[in-house]
């Protein structure tokens, strides 16, 4: 009886056995991908050999043969060093661009929700105009139609003596350091530590007694005093340096190529329009009930924004904003179009100098992959932190 109720499990024929299908499908996938890769690899070795190009990466130690504007790099230096210069120049765009585009994006995004019609509409036009243009077109516009149309070197334009602007370079106010600057920074660091302790003390006091903490005022004040004292004690080691045109050179200040500022300005404008949309969307995504609850507690509009809306909006906004940082970093590769010597252009030039293209481009991709993975890693850490803070 039991035998008929629980018949012996009959194995299905092998072509319908799920375990067999799984193994066979995976094998097939691996074999197909493997064959394609093997075929490409075979072609690659044959073709490299036919053209007398090296298979390995020894060429990295050979001379690069490229000139890099605004750098003491010599063409006889190895390819490896040229790549480092390229990475440094890419990072120069990233490091300067990210804070700028964040600030502009947040300001414009908040402005779009302004009660002032003029401000809100201008922000909307800014966003809709820039967001819908190709970034490369904005780069060309800023460089070809604005920067190259600036006055030449000898007629450099110098507003208030703070900047020197011409169609080759742009120089901005900078700082020069002299002896004792190391001690100055050490003292500033100590001041920062004290400010942090004061901040904690004020917070604890607020938690215990409920009296206003004014931690920004307290900590900021302490830091300011520390900086001033350090500056005096170490004999004023940091001086302001104003750029000035002297003959055929610009002396003093921080100076950069027009191409650098062109790419920076264009990509910052483009990316900040995306950030602005994210900021606006995030603020609007905070539920209306939260705003009404804040009003019911009779918080002021500022308090409502600072303690209720923004903390929640930021949690929504930060992952897509970090994604925009990633896009910005990848878009810096467009600088090649106007000849700024970032990593993509260096690789392009090196390929032009008889270095093997497949390896060079692989290196280029891996460099961008490292940038991307770094930013993704930061994004993951931030997301985890935000989740802990958030509702469960």
């Amino acid at each position: 009886m039991t035998a008929t109720l629980h018949p012996m499990p009959v194995r299905p024929p092998f072509w319908r056995d799920l375990r067999v299908i799984r193994v066979v499908t995976q094998l097939a996938a691996v074999v197909v991908v493997g064959l394609v890769v093997a075929w490409l690899w075979n072609n690659l070795t044959t073709n490299l050999e036919a053209r007398g190009l090296p298979m390995g990466f020894e060429f990295l130690d050979g001379p690069a043969g490229v000139n890099i504007a605004d750098n003491e790099f010599r063409p006889s230096q190895p390819v490896r060093d040229a790549l480092f210069v390229g990475i440094k120049n890419t990072l120069a765009l990233v490091v300067a661009g990210i804070p700028l585009l964040t600030v502009i994006g947040i300001v414009v995004g908040v402005s779009r929700l302004s009660a002032n019609w003029l401000v809100a509409k201008s922000a909307a036009v800014f966003v809709e105009l820039l967001r819908n243009l190709p970034p490369l077109l904005i780069i060309f516009f800023v460089f070809n139609a604005v920067i190259l149309e600036l006055p030449g070197l000898s007629e450099s334009w110098s507003p208030f003596g703070l900047l020197v602007i011409n169609n080759r370079r742009i120089s901005v106010l900078g700082f020069t350091a002299s002896v004792g600057v190391g001690w100055f920074w050490v003292l500033v660091l100590v001041g920062l530590l004290i400010a942090f302790v004061v901040w904690r003390w004020r917070t604890r006091r607020f938690d215990d007694t409920g009296e206003p903490h004014h931690r920004v005022l307290w900590a900021g004040g302490v830091l300011l005093v520390a900086v001033v004292v350090a500056y005096m004690l170490t004999g004023r080691p940091v001086r302001i340096s104003l750029p000035a045109l002297e003959g055929r050179r610009i002396e003093g200040g921080y100076s950069g190529l027009g191409a650098y500022f062109g790419v920076l300005a264009a990509l910052v404008l483009y990316t900040s329009s995306h950030i602005a949309e994210i900021v606006r969307g995030s603020i609007q995504a905070v539920s209306q009930g939260q705003v009404e609850a804040a009003d019911a507690l009779s918080l002021s509009p500022f308090q409502r924004l600072r303690f209720v809306v923004l903390p929640q909006a930021f949690r929504i906004a930060i992952p897509p904003i970090i994604n925009q940082y990633l896009n910005y970093t990848k878009n810096t590769s467009l600088a090649i179009a106007i000849g700024y010597a970032e990593i993509t252009r260096i690789v392009n030039q090196a390929i032009g100098n008889a270095n093997p293209a497949p390896q060079m481009i692989l290196i280029l991709m891996l460099i961008y992959l490292v940038f991307s993975l770094t930013i993704s890693a930061v994004s993951n850490v931030v997301n985890r932190r935000l989740r802990i803070v958030g509702r469960t």
Binding site: N47, L133, F141, A337, I351, I361
Partner: protein, 418 residues
């Protein structure tokens, strides 16, 4: 049906707060001068804005547009032989009819759905069409303003007219033809392609100008879609090796800029293929774009697949559908419908990204702008801002119109509603 009908469900009018009509004076006081700070901002900001606006408008009014008048055909079709211009014209007409037919078909479909579910459906009036597509009409008007003969105007009217006729015919389509509705745009593209390059036409490796940008965008999405779909399914597969291959591909491609893939295709593809298989440069760019877009489409489709509740799959299994039929009849229709807005977003992003082929030496719209400024007649006259503004207008109108349409679809589908 998950997601409900495509028809717009308008909220009951009584639920809305009564709209108050403000007089112009009240409006100004409320929106510009509500507080002293607001007034100050309005005045200072307004003055700055006015100054900027006057400067920019003055710049463009006094500019010399001869460079665009002379190069108009170069911008639009590049080096397409001038005695064969009937080909792009004919192709555009075909595409216009196909778009009209599809739109008409979708309209009757939405109407039928609305009837079934008892919700209200309002056909778009000509006024609605104007509100939706005014940037497109503006762009056409600007382009026609630079023409010197009457032919382009007649051609434009003809193309728009064929779209309208197509729309009218599309609404007459029998309900049975609905199942094959998706084939109309593909058929239109195939016929347009034949008109351009078949029968002694121009191979796509010779295409240039706006024509090239449009081709790369459409072909890129069309070719990348099947690959992206396969990658998305692969990433959600329970087979570890298939998943690993898909994830590696997607994450690698998404981690590098498009320009590196274009470099790969232009400079290094020759090393990876035997002599006889090496394609022309436009094909190479298209390969890079397809590989790039596939990874992004895969992520969009994955998002759509994740949005299909597992109960749907279980229900399909319960009625005895095979895995293949479960995917084709239950999961994919729901998943893909919800990816439409993101897909349009990807389309826009690719449309803008096709300008990157300028960097690897193809003659797209952006490069034509640079080439025009290198012509002896216009060299060194600082006319970049004129040509770039013209090119920018084309890209802006395309992207802006499509992004508004995407938002409209999003609202209709109720995607992203909380």
């Amino acid at each position: 049906m998950i997601g409900g009908p495509t028809a717009v469900a308008t909220p009951e009018t009584s639920e809305r707060p009564p709209e108050t009509k403000l007089t112009p004076g009240e409006w100004v006081r409320k929106n510009l001068f509500s507080t002293p700070l607001n007034s100050l901002v309005s005045i200072l900001f307004g003055a700055g804005l006015l100054y900027l606006l006057v400067g920019v408008v003055g710049f463009f009014i006094t500019a010399d547009y001869q460079i665009i008048r002379v190069n108009l055909a170069n911008f639009v079709v590049g080096r397409f032989p001038r005695d064969q211009l009937w080909r792009p014209v004919f192709a555009t007409g075909i595409l216009s009819v196909a778009v009209g037919l599809t739109a008409g078909g979708l309209t009757i479909r939405a109407e039928a759905l609305a009837r079934e579910t008892g919700s209200t459906f309002r056909r778009s009036t000509p006024g609605d069409w104007m509100r939706r597509f005014w940037p497109l009409l503006l762009m056409i008007a600007v382009m026609l303003a630079f023409t010197t003969t009457v032919t382009p105007t007649l051609v434009s009217l003809g193309v728009i007219g064929s779209g309208v006729v197509g729309n009218y015919l599309g609404r007459l389509l029998p309900a049975g033809a609905r199942r094959w509705g998706w084939s109309i745009p593909l058929l239109g593209l195939a016929v347009a392609y034949l008109a351009l390059s078949g029968f002694g036409g121009l191979d796509w490796n010779q295409w240039s100008g706006l024509h090239l940008n449009l081709f790369l965008t459409v072909a890129g999405i069309v070719f990348a879609f099947p690959l992206g779909l396969a990658l998305a399914l692969g990433r959600r597969s329970t087979l570890p090796t298939v998943r690993a291959i898909s994830v590696t591909y997607i994450e690698f491609i998404r981690g590098v800029p498009l320009i590196t893939l274009l470099f790969m295709a232009i400079f290094a593809l020759g090393f990876l293929l035997p002599e006889e298989l090496r394609p022309g440069n436009v094909t190479r760019a298209l390969i890079a774009i397809t590989m790039f877009e596939a990874a992004y489409i895969a992520e969009i489709v994955r998002g759509g697949l994740q949005g299909v509740p597992s109960g749907q799959v279980e229900a399909a299994q319960a009625v005895g559908l095979t895995p293949w039929k479960t995917m084709r009849l239950v999961v994919l229709p729901q998943a893909l419908r919800h990816t439409i807005p993101a897909m349009v977003g990807q389309f826009i992003s690719l449309f803008k990204d096709t300008t990157l082929v300028t960097i690897v030496g193809l003659t797209d719209l952006l490069r034509v702008s640079n080439q025009a400024n290198a012509q002896p007649d216009f060299l060194g006259q600082g006319l970049h801002f004129v040509t770039l503004a013209f090119v920018g207008l084309i890209f802006w109108v395309g992207s802006y119109t499509m992004s508004r349409e995407a938002r409209r679809i999003e609202r209709r589908l109720g995607v992203g509603e909380r």
